[in-house]
Subunit: 474 residues, 2 copies
């Protein structure tokens, strides 16, 4: 019998097949050349295959790896600098982000990956101006990525309230060219582990003409558009000034709401607007932690789902949300929605687990390859140790509490193994292809250089955290 790469057997598999969590007890999974060959009853699979490595995951659960659909990983070196403040970007982030350079961004992304893999993320949806610069690192560590290249026509400068963004068509063209170039070079690369999306930054940042060109070019390439959409009052104010329409209404008018669009945030959208986006076939990415902490808002994902839309989850960025931990993101999604609707039945644990796996994969157009554990899909999966005090005890009769325990009690450190494309990238508390302490040291050194340079603007802006510092509150 020819040997395959990997066999995993465990008492609990959550395959996410069907419309629930696709639970299979006492099963085994055969993996070869990056793909799942078969999943089935333990004895049957173990009799059929011999593998170079066989993992008997006693006391553990097997799940698809988590999909983090929307991240700005390069900001991870600015963790914790912009919370507890109104006008997050201006009063919190700006003094620090103004001092960022490319090298600090790359180090930050490495930290984000180290953190996120430890909590089970296997697919990383990075949104940024030069996500291609991160690709060598992604390849080295072995994660799956869906990168979005920012296209922005608005000039970067400080705008007064009531002032319309100034568009620079030449800039928009340059950024579109860069996006096309990155798409051509990397979409489908690394055995398909890399996909590339078109990223107009938002309907307020790009002119109608350029938005429509992006749409046409993306369609030709069968690529999706990933765009911040109705992400807050600043965007809505710009759109009202420029077009006398709210963002979603205007996007509908130009036929931008379709199955090619992944609309991120919808912070400012009401239920009807969210439902319109869903009915038009677009997907939504929900960043619960980030929008909760930055804006105190719970976006209308429930309404979006009720209209038939697919919702993915994203951890956004560390200076806002403060972390890249998909278990945290699932939990906050469930709890925030219960609070928004004052109803404990809203967004049950299994639903948010689907959003972090198969529903997320559908939203991003990746469900042919990932999101569930099924024969012929890529072998992206994690093991979760259910014997950790935070997840114990396990009931299987009369109900299984494994999914609620993972979502509502998981911290992240219960993830014991992470596999992408059949290759183990994390095991026994260590990333296989990354020296974490080296990454932490490098980011720390960068922070110690960046902080003093940000000081002048930090004190001048005099935001909430500056006041807290003066008062000894931090």
């Amino acid at each position: 019998m020819e040997k395959i790469d990997l066999l995993v057997s465990a008492p609990h598999f959550f395959t996410m097949k069907g419309d629930g969590v696709g639970y299979c007890p006492n099963s085994a999974m055969a993996v070869d050349r990056g793909k799942i060959l078969a999943i089935g009853p333990r004895e049957e699979i173990l009799n059929l295959y011999r593998a170079n490595r066989t993992i008997d995951a006693e006391g553990q659960a097997v799940l698809p790896g988590f999909i983090d659909a929307h991240m700005h990983m390069t900001l991870c070196g600015l963790r914790g600098l912009a919370q507890d403040t109104g006008y997050w970007m201006m009063y919190g982030l700006a003094p620090f982000s103004h001092q960022m350079d490319e090298a600090t961004g790359i180090m930050g992304a490495q930290l984000a990956v180290a953190e996120a893999v430890r909590a089970g993320t296997t697919t990383f949806g990075e949104f940024g101006r030069r996500p291609d610069l991160l690709i060598p690192f992604f390849e080295k560590v072995g994660v799956r990525t869906q990168i979005t290249v920012t296209i922005r026509e608005a000039v970067d400068r400080i705008y007064n309230p009531g002032e319309l963004y100034e568009f620079d068509p030449a800039r928009g063209e340059r950024m579109l060219d860069a996006c096309l170039d990155i798409f051509t070079r990397f979409n489908g690369a690394a055995e398909g582990r890399i996909t590339v999306l078109f990223g107009p930054q938002g309907p307020d940042f790009v002119s109608r003409e350029l938005l429509l060109r992006i749409q046409e070019l993306a369609r030709e390439r069968k690529a999706k558009i990933h765009m911040h959409t109705q992400q807050g009052d600043r965007e809505t104010a710009q759109m009202m000034m420029r077009y006398d329409k709210r963002p979603i209404a205007w996007l509908d008018e130009i036929n931008y709401l379709d199955e090619n669009l992944i609309a991120v945030h919808l912070t400012d959208a009401d239920d009807h607007e969210a439902q319109l986006v869903a009915r038009r076939g677009a997907a939504m990415t929900l960043c619960s932690g980030s929008i909760g902490i930055i804006d105190g808002v719970v976006p209308p994902a429930k309404a979006f789902q009720e209209a038939g839309g697919m919702v993915a989850l994203g951890s956004d960025q560390a200076p806002g949300n403060n972390n890249h931990n998909m278990i945290n993101e699932m939990k906050l999604t469930a709890l925030f929605n219960k609070i928004r609707y004052q109803d404990p039945e809203v967004m049950p644990a299994w639903r948010v687990l689907r959003m972090a796996t198969i529903e997320g994969a559908r939203a991003l157009g990746l469900d042919k390859r990932i999101g569930s554990l099924e024969a012929d899909k890529q072998a992206d999966f994690i093991l979760v140790d259910l014997r950790r005090p935070s997840l114990a005890p396990i009931y299987t009769e009369p109900m299984r509490n494994i999914v609620p325990n993972l979502v509502y009690s998981g911290r992240g450190d219960e993830v014991s193994l992470v596999v992408v494309d059949g290759r183990i990238i994390y095991e026994n508390g260590r990333l296989i292809h990354l020296d974490e302490s080296e990454v932490v040291s490098a980011v720390q050194a960068a922070a110690e250089r960046l902080g003093p340079k940000a000081a002048e603007e930090f004190w001048e802006v005099n935001g909430t955290n500056a006041r807290f510092m003066k008062e000894g509150k931090l």
Copy 2:
């Protein structure tokens, strides 16, 4: 020079002195016979003392241990069985809690302690009928506890909507006697690590007469009363039926709202009611995770604090909240309140850290002994490793991001050392006086016995989770 027990030096101390976080860089703390002797500049303290053990906590922060003010630890063996359902207690918990026995409760409490210590809890506020049964275990593990003995006059049976609870005065007397007995035997025991509170279960469960007797007996003993107060519509309905008053208004009428009362939950209280409780001098315990998940409600802690009241945090119980992790509790408190008020400036990180330490200690009447790191207080403290990917990088200039990182990004596993009364109870990932895997195995075995016994009622009640099981959603 005589040797003291312990010296700890670290780059970051958060003493919680003053009205912020009492930050002291590059400091050391001298500990002897359970108490803090001195905290000061590192070199100064290290020159003054020699110790049997000296810890140089490079890259770490020292904080007071966390105070979990309100727990039902004995339910920890029922983790994850009652989420995502309306009428939590009836449709979720009842089929399982009806099968609980004393031994399972004690095992559950052991699991809760193992879980909570790992995330930095040093003081455990257990509320239950026989918390004295847990004392040998608390003593063995070395944690500090404040136990509350339940006093309930209402007969335990199922009541129809609109039906007034039936009081059994003899039962009330028996439970009060048990409380007095436990108070006499244990209050101040274990070198002061144990305190005992009087626990009328709620104004709906105990008659006016008995409530007033409890008040008198508690006052004579300088003990506080710890009571579920306006914890939801069931309680309010009972009080309206019996007295034609909402709970807080009625408690004010009988002069129950005073500095002796710790009012738990206030789920159902509006801002004015909460402020009345605070103005009368009572304290509040806020269980953000539990009330959020069970009721979809954010209790009025902000209003309570604005009226001058002290608020402690509690993790409540694992079948509801699902975990006993105070970092989680701090985070949810901050985020839920930002959402309730749609204002990111509400409940900043440093504020919730104070609630888990010094403000919590004040609320519980324990601030003479614990809650901050100051000379003459008991040495209850934790070390947090700031080099973990989830907490890195650290900025000290122009702002310190350590507290936001801990609150918004901490998972729990960054806690590297836990000390109570100067004795190390957790180090290097292990509880010193507890075999965790033994505890997990025992609770797991109990769960496997309990589950099948609960099956009949579980399917009969046919709650949300029963439906989810039938549909393959769990």
